[in-house]
Amino acid sequence: MNQLVESVVHEHVHRDDVGAKIGMWLFLFTELILFGGMFLAYAVYRYQYGDFFALASKKLDVFFGLINTLILLTSSLTMAMSITAIRRESKKLSMLFLALTIFFALLFMVNKYFEWSAKFSSGIFPGSTELLNQPKGIIIYFGLYFVMTGLHALHVLIGMVILLVMFFYLKSDVINSDYYIMLENSGLYWHLVDIIWIFLFPLFYLIH
């Protein structure tokens, strides 16, 4: 009887890396569409309140946005290199790249924290009297700004946690040069977070 359970359990966890990757991509599409809904809202309001959006976007610091863009792009690089490293059987290097990725993610969050606190201390946050006295277009711009970058930051946080777990998996050889699909999938997630930011950056910081 135990043999039956064993064989069945084994059957259930049979490995299908391609299947796992399909699942991950499908999940990424839901994330994409989730943000897509907000991009849609952004597009509609930008169409309606274009001038106010231009006005409001001047209140954001392009420097913060630019730095964060570069940080995320670099983290994507180290993420991708971490996968190449483990596949080339250099575990140490892979761990180093992954640690760098996590470090960049942290840097992104620190930067975000300073950016948001600057906004908060100048009285701009959802529901603040300062903001409510502004024209409607500006209220909506900042509404979208906080919600979209906020949700993105939440994804960065989740990504950090996932990458941390991957780091320990790497360390304990759960992930190795033969079985690296988990790392690859985490990487896919991380790159998607990057792609979202690639669009958020010009939409909020650059377009005047």
Partner: protein, 552 residues
């Protein structure tokens, strides 16, 4: 209900233990709620869905009772508004959307494609847990001060940011349920891509599998939109960010767009799997191959695609641009065509068959009838000038229930009766099943048909009270509910009795030819002792044509 006899399947070699009795590490209820076996999860869903269904039926019954006469009958307006909201939220998010995929998809998909399980069994269990969590969150407001939401299941802005009832739990519940639905879809798509038995090419898949595939894509590509939309409403209520609140510059119509971008395709999440069920049931009881297999398969994909492009036909009276009006109207009419193709192919499948009117077949034929009426009244709403008149009236309520209850609901009942012997290894009393079918069908018509008439006469929906001229129609409708509900009760009692006292079911009681009928009822834990190799077409009934009886 557990089978103790090891050999209940016929023509099966070797040791066979059905999945109920398969040895597991856990005991009692944990054997179920922590099981990653797709069959157990399917049955978990069945039980939880039917529980929610019963609750929502009770709410529906109370609504009909209130509407039996003008003025106050049994409840005050606030209660009525909350009850129709709960009825909608529970029926939509907790019964019909998960309905067939979660119960029968889970149970049957691996069996039909010759796999041992779905691609991600643990994710599958997580979906169920999310479903229960979402359901819990959605109905928790019943017990909170302020009571459940009174917004209607559509949560239209700005009312949903103004009302003082507990809207946020309902929103969060729907959000969580959305993710449960997404994970199911994701799981099924991956399963269908990766786990088909050797030889089962795309065009050898049963049509139910095709419909699950099409549904999976809608679940993945449309559900996140409503997820973010409902989340934004909640954020609007918490922080007042202005994205939807018109007082802060928000656009209530944008909310409607975002809501219906999901919620219209969701209608196809509800109906497509039911169409898949019908495509399974009809050939089996006609004992012949399905007419136009590829056309039915592709029409599922076409419905999924076109169905995603027609959402704004829910908004023809909000004052959209002229361009949007005609584009969405035209697309709406086009989506009717793949549905029509399906209906014609099903009817043609009866031609020169060898038809036996067993309970599943009765429900399937009633599905075609109801769905056709629902479809035609849908066409009426697609016509712009007519839509203006019947929008937001009981005509819509009638149409919706003809498609969702008369269609998907009957599809679910057909599926329950069709696969009950496979799931539980017992056969129900067919005569009682037929009586319950007659009551359900008759009550259904009396309950919902008057809605078309009073709708056309101008009875708006979501009304607690109404003008005296509508009395007779409401009265008839309420009487219909008194026939329908006993029918439902009889059906469920009959099935529950069958679990206890029913005769043991054979492996293949109906003479089906898809893979799930080749294994014993109920299936063993592993489903297939050896993964089958598929050579035949999915609906190969030629042995009947040659006069042979069923072979397993």
């Amino acid at each position: 209900m557990m089978l103790t006899d090891i050999k209940s399947g016929n023509g099966h070699n070797g040791e066979y233990i059905d999945f109920y009795n398969a040895p597991t590490k856990r005991k009692g209820i944990f054997k179920w709620i922590f099981s990653t076996d797709h069959k157990r999860i399917g049955i978990l869903y069945l039980v939880s869905l039917l529980t929610f269904f019963s609750v929502a039926v009770i709410f529906g019954f109370l609504m009909r009772l209130e509407l039996i006469a003008p003025g106050k009958t049994i409840m005050d307006p606030q209660t009525y508004n909350q009850i129709f909201t709960l009825h909608g939220v529970i029926m939509i998010f907790l019964f019909i959307i998960p309905g067939i995929p979660a119960v029968f998809g889970n149970f049957l998909l691996p069996l039909m494609i010759g796999a041992r399980d779905v691609a991600f069994p643990r994710l599958n269990l997580l979906s169920w847990w999310l479903f229960i969590l979402g359901g819990f969150v959605a109905v928790i407001s019943l017990f909170l001060p302020g009571g459940p939401a009174d917004t209607g299941w559509t949560f239209y802005i700005p009312y949903s940011v103004r009302t003082n009832t507990n809207v946020i739990p309902a929103l969060m519940g729907a959000f969580i349920l959305g993710f449960s639905s997404i994970l199911t879809g994701l799981n099924f798509i991956t399963t269908i891509h990766r786990m088909r038995a050797p030889g089962m090419s795309w065009f050898k898949m049963p049509l139910f599998v095709w419909s699950l595939y099409a549904t999976g894509w809608i679940q993945i590509l449309a559900t996140p939109i409503v997820g973010i939309t409902l989340l934004l409403v909640a954020i609007e209520r918490w922080f007042g960010v202005g994205i939807f609140d018109p007082a802060l510059g928000g656009d209530p119509i944008l909310y409607q767009h975002l809501f219906w971008i999901y919620s219209h395709p969701a209608v196809y999440i509800m109906i497509l799997p039911a169409m898949g069920v019908i495509s399974e049931v009809i050939p089996v009881f006609s004992r012949r191959t399905i007419f136009g297999y590829k056309f039915i398969a592709f029409s599922s994909i076409a419905i999924a695609f076109f169905g995603s492009l027609v959402w704004a036909h829910h908004m023809f009276t909000v004052g959209m641009s002229g361009t949007a009006m005609w584009i969405f109207s035209l697309l709406t009419f086009l989506v009717a065509i793949p549905s029509a193709i399906k209906v014609f192919n099903w009817v043609s499948t009866l031609y020169k068959g060898s038809i036996e009117l067993e309970p599943p077949m009765l429900f399937a034929l009633a599905f075609i009838f109801n769905f056709t009426i629902g479809g035609f009244t849908g066409l009426m709403q697609g016509a712009l000038s007519l839509n203006i008149h019947i929008h937001d009236t009981y005509f819509i309520v009638g149409h919706f229930h003809y498609v969702m209850f008369g269609g998907t609901g009957f599809g679910i009942f057909a599926a329950i009766h069709h696969w009950f012997p496979k799931m539980f290894g017992k056969m129900y009393n067919k005569r009682n099943a037929k009586i319950s079918f007659a009551l359900i069908l008759g009550g259904f018509q009396l309950l919902y048909f008057p809605m078309f008439i009073m709708g056309y006469l101008g009875m708006p929906r979501r009304y607690y009270d109404y003008l005296p001229e509508f009395h007779i129609w409401h009265l008839l409708s309420t009487i219909g509910s008194w026939i329908l509900i006993p029918g439902l009760i009889l059906m469920f009692v009959n099935l529950i009795m069958a679990l206890k006292k029913g005769q043991r079911a054979e492996a293949n009681p109906w003479g089906g030819v898809t893979l799930e009928w080749t294994i014993p009822s109920p299936p063993s834990f592993e489903n297939f002792e050896k993964i089958p190799v598929v050579e035949k077409e999915p609906y190969d009934f030629t042995h009947y044509e040659l006069g042979e009886e069923v072979k397993n």
